[in-house]
């Protein structure tokens, strides 16, 4: 007899066999079929009726199948699983639908020409091949860059005060930061409008818009940074201090580098918070159709303003332009965020 040699083969014993999958598959088919039947027979008509019935039947079928095959515990597990999937669908479906609409309607007017021209000499009714949104690109770039340059240090230093310095007013500062994050964006615009423009007598300018966005951005950056800094183990701070470092050196050389990736996320979230803000810009920047390269003086445009204005004009081409504005803004933001993420992790592999 030949000796049986056991050769180990990589295997996945936990993988479901077709036989095990079959009841679930049948359950899914039954769910859809019964839903169609119910919709056909009952007065529940239309997409909404279909969706509600589908959800109801999915929960019912999954629970029943589990109960019959196993026991009550398995049935509970199936119910919650289906509920979680439904919740996820409620988040993902609208998002995909929004993205789909933006791409569908926004890509109509898309050409490289839009990055080389503004709307100064183009009428709103002229075809999409004329004019462009360079003025909005420049305006948003100026305003958001200035706002980020102002809000990042203030936000992160605020978080450091709350988490690292733990000064006497840490609780108060945290309370104000939280309160600020609930302020409606138009209030930030009104604040700058009242103080910077009316009290101090400045006119519309990009810098005023940047100030308004800074007010909105600080709480987001500060709160996210605070959470990130809290995650840094106390051990590391003590290790730094035990080596004879001052608190400032420990924070600058140990804590902040360890939290770097999270702090970049905080800034990204801050930018995401303000990049689409319209109301504060209307009050502080004023809006324009022509390129303005001077952020300290004169009206400027920005993506939200460009979209808002074209939507208000309301003719066919201008509405297409509004969608185009949303589309281009989305792509630019995506590029910037990907770049920031890449740069924040490119320095070696951690772990």
């Amino acid at each position: 007899m030949s000796q049986t040699l056991l050769v180990a083969k990589p295997n996945r014993p936990w993988k479901l066999t077709p036989k095990q999958v079959l009841p679930d598959l049948l359950g899914a088919v039954f769910t859809v079929a019964s839903t169609l039947l119910i919709v056909a027979l009952s007065p529940l008509k239309g997409k909404l009726g279909f969706a509600i019935t589908l959800i109801f039947m999915a929960i019912l079928t999954a629970t029943a199948v589990s109960w019959i095959r196993r026991d009550r515990k398995a049935a509970m597990n199936s119910t919650t699983t289906v509920l979680v999937y439904i919740a996820a669908a409620f988040v993902i479906l609208p998002l995909i639908s929004v993205l789909y609409e933006i791409v569908r309607l926004g890509s109509v007017g898309f050409s490289l020409g839009i990055f080389t021209d503004d709307m100064a000499e183009t009428s709103s009714e002229s075809p999409l091949t004329e004019g462009g949104l360079l003025h909005a690109v420049i305006g948003t770039a100026y305003i958001v860059t200035f706002a980020t340059l102002l809000a990042t240090p203030i936000g992160i230093l605020t978080a450091l005060y709350i988490v690292e310095v733990k000064g006497r007013f840490a609780g108060l500062v945290r309370f104000f930061v939280q309160a600020m994050s609930g302020v409606p964006s138009i209030v930030a615009g009104l604040f700058i409008f009242a103080v910077w423009m009316i009290q101090l007598g400045n006119a519309y300018s990009g810098i005023a818009g940047a100030f308004a966005l800074t007010v909105l951005m600080i709480p987001t950056v500060a709160r996210t940074s605070e959470e990130v800094l809290k995650l840094i183990p106390q051990d590391l701070r003590e290790a730094g201090l035990a080596l004879g470092a001052t608190q400032w050196r420990t924070v600058a050389m140990v804590v902040v580098p360890a939290a770097r990736s999270g702090l970049i996320t905080a800034v990204i979230l801050g930018v995401a918070r303000v990049v689409g803000e319209t109301a504060p810009l209307l009050l502080t920047v004023g809006g324009a159709d022509a390129i303005n390269l001077n952020p300290t003086q004169g009206n400027m445009s920005a993506f939200p303003y460009y979209v808002w204005k074209n939507l208000l004009i309301g003719n066919e081409n201008s509405i297409s332009r509004a969608w185009l504005g949303v589309f281009v803004l989305m792509i630019l933001v995506l590029i910037i965020f990907t770049l920031a993420r890449y740069l924040s992790t490119s320095r070696g592999v951690k772990k």
């Binding site: 003590e238 290790a239 470092a245």
Partner: protein, 314 residues
């Protein structure tokens, strides 16, 4: 033998030992007699095999001394009247059950105690005869002279191995001429050089737990401390890494005094010259007995010490 050239061969180590103990010429000829007790004999044998250096103040240094130290967290009295002398060039083990204040005590020695918001204390900690808690003392200078190794290995995650070792200099803003030489000597003294010499630009987190702990030791050596405090440095490590760190401790003890908190009796018996037993009977932790390690493990004066070191409680 100078402390910086520590090549990790057996011979070198035994040389260190002979300098340290002075009288073990026989044991040195047969390396097995050093290691044998660890595996087979009782704690008291282990302790006596390693004869204590009877610490004499060297180079005019009186080392580190705690005088009547009390500590509180809020209203809770956690340490009562601890007076201990740590001579230069000795290894001092602090033993005792959990919660008896050993860690609090060593954190008092390099002023880490004050980072706990509710903490307070009484008494004096004298470093070379000067109270480290005196007003006007630069606390960062104290921590430079009294280094610390923590229970959990905590290399700085954003720094490479090289940067980790030299981080103390950067953190304390000390300029140095030849950083490569220092890097190598610190890693050699911590017994890590051979394992990491080809991967100095990798991140510290990429090392194993035992290597990370030795990296942390190397990091605290770079600023050339006079005293090294170790808070259960081996509690998270496997026996192999523990042994390497104990060797490291022995090598280091020729150039600095070491205070080590440990729950491992064997370890206290193996590495220390002096042992102090702490105990809390529900109230504040007290120093029950302190003496040479051989004394504590073979012939303790107090019944409670004997019970603890022989494993009858705790």
């Amino acid at each position: 033998m100078s402390s910086t050239d520590g090549k990790n061969t057996n011979n070198d180590r035994e040389e260190t030992m002979s300098q340290v103990t002075g009288k073990q010429s026989r044991a040195i000829q047969d390396p097995s007699t050093i290691k044998q007790p660890v595996a087979t004999h009782s704690l008291s044998d282990v302790a006596s095999a390693r004869r204590a250096k009877f610490g004499q103040p060297t180079n005019g240094s009186t080392g580190l001394e705690a005088k009547g130290v009390h500590a509180w967290f809020g209203k809770k009295h956690v340490l009562e009247d601890i007076s201990l002398d740590f001579y230069t060039g000795t290894v001092n083990a602090l033993i005792g059950p959990s919660g008896c204040g050993k860690s609090t005590f060593i954190r008092i020695l390099n002023r880490m105690h004050e980072f706990i918001p509710t903490a307070s204390l009484a008494g004096q900690v004298l470093l070379d005869g000067k109270d480290v808690y005196e007003s006007g003392v630069d606390v960062t200078k104290i921590r430079l002279r009294v280094g610390m190794v923590f229970q959990k290995p905590n290399p700085f995650p954003s720094m490479t191995i090289r940067e980790n070792v030299l981080s103390g200099l950067k953190l304390a803003q000390i300029k140095i001429e030849n950083s490569d030489e220092l890097l190598e000597s610190c890693l050699r003294r911590a017994g890590l050089w051979d394992e990491v010499k080809d991967r100095l630009s990798e991140y510290g987190g990429a090392l194993s737990g035992g290597q990370q702990q030795r990296l942390c030791i190397a990091r605290s050596l770079a600023v050339n401390p006079q005293v090294l405090l170790m808070d259960e440095p081996c509690s998270a490590l496997d026996p192999g890494s523990t042994l390497r760190i104990e060797e490291t401790i022995r090598e280091l003890s020729s150039s600095m005094s070491i205070v080590i908190v440990t729950h491992n009796m064997q370890q206290a018996a193996r590495v220390s010259d002096y042992t102090s037993f702490f105990l809390s009977d529900g109230g504040p932790g007290r120093l029950i007995e302190s003496g040479t390690t051989a004394e504590i493990f073979t012939n303790p004066k107090q019944k409670r010490t004997e019970d603890y070191v022989s494993g009858k409680f705790g």
